[in-house]
Assembly symmetry: C2
Homo-oligomer: 113 residues x 2
């Protein structure tokens, strides 16, 4: 048992994004059927145990994933053509436009294995 | 590879809580040294891979954990005396008082193993 926020070899990442409240249902519908090539790109780029959660009251999205190096996982994904297409197709649902350009990364201060 | 939000046997849980912005540093200081008996109670109650993350801009806390049954994990923890002491000691840092009474549980709509 450990409460250390640093486990060598795995980085636990949490971020938030803000949906447009009037587009929540359209956004969820698209996520029931994410393109298989986008799922493959995420896996190849090192995004694992990746979940997205919704706070319905205000459209806040929380992402959680595990990876060896999040900066590398982000840049690896950003180089893939399917990611550009996916992010552009999501842009209309977010306050900020393309969601990958506006991830607000949070700080892990506690972990219990 | 799966994008199903339902994996039998494990429930991924995400919740938010709201810190008082003027108490963030005090709260973090307490979390650098969580009581060992509180860590043991969490583990015994089935809270695993449990992380807490902070959004510093507004003091929002995001919790993520994996468990077989979150309702059971919550009630099992709630029965333990050390939890009552811990939650009471945390209450002054939160807008709502005792944080375990005001978890806002989010909805998982996407998962990639």
């Amino acid at each position: 048992m450990t409460s250390s926020p640093r486990t060598p070899g795995v980085q636990r990442v949490c971020f938030t994004m803000q949906l447009r409240p009037d587009r929540i249902e359209d956004y969820l519908r698209d996520h029931a059927d994410v393109w298989p090539e986008m799922l493959a790109a995420l896996t190849e780029a090192g995004w694992s145990n990746y979940s997205l959660f919704l706070r319905r009251s205000d459209g806040m999205v929380v992402g959680y994933l595990e990876t060896e190096d999040f900066a590398r996982a982000q840049s690896s994904l950003a180089r893939r053509e399917v990611n550009a297409r996916w992010q552009s197709s999501m842009a209309e649902y977010f306050e900020s436009g393309r969601p990958d350009a506006a991830l607000d990364e949070l700080e892990e201060y506690f972990h219990l294995a």
